[in-house]
Structures are given as C-alpha cells and as structure tokens.
Amino acid sequence: MSKTQKITLTETELLRALKARESVAAEALYDMYSSSLYGIIFRIVQHDEIAEDLLQEVFVKIWNSFPSFDAEKGRLFTWMANIARNLSIDKLRSKDFRNNSKNQDIENTVNFIDEQRNTAINPDTLGIKELVSQLKPEQKSILDLVYFRGYTHVEVADELGLPLGTVKTRLRMAITTLRKFFN
C-alpha cells in the first residue's frame, strides 16, 4: 500500500544494523514489525491516535534500549512485544486515559475489535479465520486476554473465575494449537 519499498532484513542482519544504529535498521524494524506491534497496542488501548502515539513511543524505546537486548535470552520480537504491551498497559492505567475512555466488557473486546477492524487485518497473513477456528473459544479468549489485552494470568483467573492452573493449561494448549497450525 505504501509507495516506498518496504525493507526486509534477515534477523541477523537486522540485529547487526540495529547495533550499528544504521538508519536502514530503523526502516527495516518499522517495515517488518510495525503492523504486528500496532496490532498489540491497538487491541490494548482501542484508540487510533493513542495507539499511533504509543507506537512511536515503543519504537523510540526499542531504538534506545536496544543495547540492553540480549539475543541469547530470547527472540527480538518477544522483547519488542513486551515493550509494546508494557507501555500500552501503562497508558491504559494512567489517569488521563481512564478519564477519556469508555469502559468496555473485557471478554467481548477482542472479538469486537476484530470485527471492527477486519479490513485492516494484515492481508499478507493467510487463514486468520481458519486459525481462529482451530482454537477453542476458551483457549482463544485466554490467549488474547494475556497476549493482546495485557492481562496477567492471575487477573484472567480472577476475571473468568477459573483456577490459575486451568488458565495456564489453556494458554499452553492454545500455543500448542498455534504451533501445529503454523507448522
């Protein structure tokens, strides 16, 4: 959709360029991950402008804290997604955000957003409906609450009235389903 050529690097190349603080790294980082990160951010704050501001904040933090990233400990995306999730949750819990936003029933949120934003879903990824159909509803809701809504598994257990162990098990089953699906 964009006129500019999207830049894609291998993860090794990207890590090297990020370390050298090359401007191509910033572009590649944005082109490769902005949509995934924006998906997380938007699902948490549910507001275009706030999500865009947050996306910028997230990239600044990624760019500046990159020296503290350790590739030995985990994948780059996991680290970036955590930054996105944490900043979004901080925003969500901040006083000015709570004053400005309407409350919404947590369980319906994810489906509600996906219905509303259906057209904006990344067209490069295939079979999103198929993917969702593979997940049992109770798995998907826990997965989304934890991953996309920034709930801790303790909060999810409280919210859904489930034992902690059940929450963890369902989350693991959801991931296992995903792994099978993607492979």
């Binding site: 902005s34 949509s35 924006y38 910028q56 994948r75 955590n82 989350l171 993607f182």
Partner: protein
C-alpha cells in the same frame, strides 16, 4: 529429564513469552533455557508461535505514522550527537539597550516626519508653479494659433489679389475722390469683361469707414445708366478682394454712400469716388 518435561508442561514458558512473569521468575526461566537445550528449544518454538500469531492479527498503522516514527528515531540520534560538549563556556548575551534604542528610533521618526513635511511643501509649490506655467503656455498657444489663422487668411487674400492684379484679363480701374469725399480718397476696381467679373481690393482702398446705418454701393455706368453692382463695408480690418455682381461691359465705375442694404438708384449727392475705364 522428567523434571524438564514437567517444567515445560507447567506453562511457565508461555507466560514468559507473553511477558507475564515477575523479574525473579523471568531470571529463573532464562537460567533454565541456558542450561537445558530442550527448554531453549521449546521456548523458541513458543516465541515463534506468538510472533506468528501477532503477525496474523497484525493491524497496519496509518501511512503517515511511518515517517513520523522514523523521524522520531533519527531526530533522537541527532539530539544526542548535538549535545553540547562539556566545558563549553556559557556566556550571557549582552542585554540589548532597549530604552536607548527607542530614544534613537523616536528621534529618527521625528526627523523623518519633519523632512517629509518640508519635502511635501516644496513639491506642492513646484506643482502650483507648473500649473501656472501650463495656463500661460495654453494662452500663448491660442494666441499663436489665431495669429497663424489670421496670417493664413491674409496670405490667401494676398495670393488672390496677386492673381487678379497680375492677370492680363483684368482691367484695373482707379476710382478717384469727388468733392463729397475726403481728399485723397481712392479705391481700385478690377474688371474682367471676358468673365464678367468685378472685384474690389479692400486692402488697397483709402475710404472713410462707414457707420452701421450706411454702406457703400458700387455702380457701373453702362451707356449713361447706373447698374447696381452690390454693397460693401469699409472698416479698419477689411482685407482681401471682394467679388461684386457680374457685368459684361461698363464705361464708368462709381461708389455712393447709401442707407444700409443699398438703393435702387444712386444718390448722386453722396457720390464718393468715380473712375472711367
């Protein structure tokens, strides 16, 4: 190995990948992953699954966000590199003398105003002079024009006189004073029998000016009978040749002073000048 399997099965790795662990728990997972390749392998697989799930549910931000974000990153670097070097002296800039500036500005304004007024005054006077000069020039131009017109008219008459006087077809008859007329009174009549033309020369005429109630009348005596040839006036500015009524032959021309418009028969006691051909 059972321990490892139980550890993996506990779901803690998923929580780690979802960022849902305390710092202490995180460190524990990282140590386990570093120590046991099976844990590392499992963790990587979970992370990849999350990553793909996020990609599958990705939302593309609005197009303008990209440049904004990238500008934010590069300007961030620019700000860092632009930080002032340590030891660079910070010197207070001298405060500009604001009151003094206004004093000078005010003085300059007053001077400018005075200059403007005097310049305006001088310009106004010059404008008045120019207007007067234009009026004077228009008057003299009118004078020249009427002069030229007058001279043109004189020239035309002079040419006409010349043509008549030099033509061999014209007989020039000089009419001399009678006792009724002042001494020295005379006038000339040009007569062309061929063309039956009779002309009098108003330039070359010594006659007293007639009043408004009287006019001179020219007569031709043909075989002893007077024939009316028309009336004319004599005034100070009478010029040129005046064409009178036509006649084929005559022996004598005579001029009497008659009431305005002329008479049928000449008033003989008012005979002024006469001349024979």
């Amino acid at each position: 190995m059972e321990e490892i399997k139980a550890y993996i099965e506990s779901g803690i790795l998923e929580l780690y990948a979802a960022g849902d662990l305390s710092p202490a728990e995180r460190q524990e997972v990282e140590e386990m992953a570093a120590r046991y390749p099976a844990v590392r392998e499992e963790l990587t697989a979970i992370e990849e699954a999350f990553e793909k799930y996020a990609a599958a549910q990705a939302l593309t931000p609005a197009g303008h966000v990209r440049s904004r974000v990238l500008a934010g990153l590069t300007s961030h670097d620019a700000v860092r590199s632009a930080e002032p070097e340590k030891g660079a002296a910070i010197v207070a800039m001298p405060r500009p003398g604001v009151p003094l500036f206004y004093k000078y500005a005010f003085a300059a304004s007053v001077a400018l105003l005075a200059f403007s007024w005097s310049a305006l005054f001088v310009t106004y006077n010059r404008l008045q002079d120019s207007k007067q000069a234009i009026v004077a020039m228009q008057a003299s131009e009118q004078k020249f024009t009427s002069n030229a017109r007058y001279m043109q008219k004189q020239l035309d008459h002079a040419n006409q006189s010349l043509r008549v006087l030099h033509s061999p077809d014209y007989l020039i008859v000089t009419l001399a004073a009678t006792p009724n007329a002042p001494k020295g009174a005379q006038m000339k009549v040009a007569f062309n029998p061929k063309a039956k033309e009779v002309m009098i020369d108003l330039n070359d005429m010594d006659m007293p000016a007639n009043d408004t109630r009287h006019q001179y009348q020219l007569w031709a005596l043909v075989d002893g009978k007077p024939v009316d040839l028309g009336v004319f006036d004599k005034s100070a500015d009478s010029i040129g040749m005046l064409k009178m009524k036509e006649i084929a032959r005559a022996q004598t021309f005579a001029v009497t002073l008659e009431p305005k418009g002329g008479s049928v028969n000449p008033t003989m006691d008012r005979l002024m000048v006469a001349g024979n051909i």
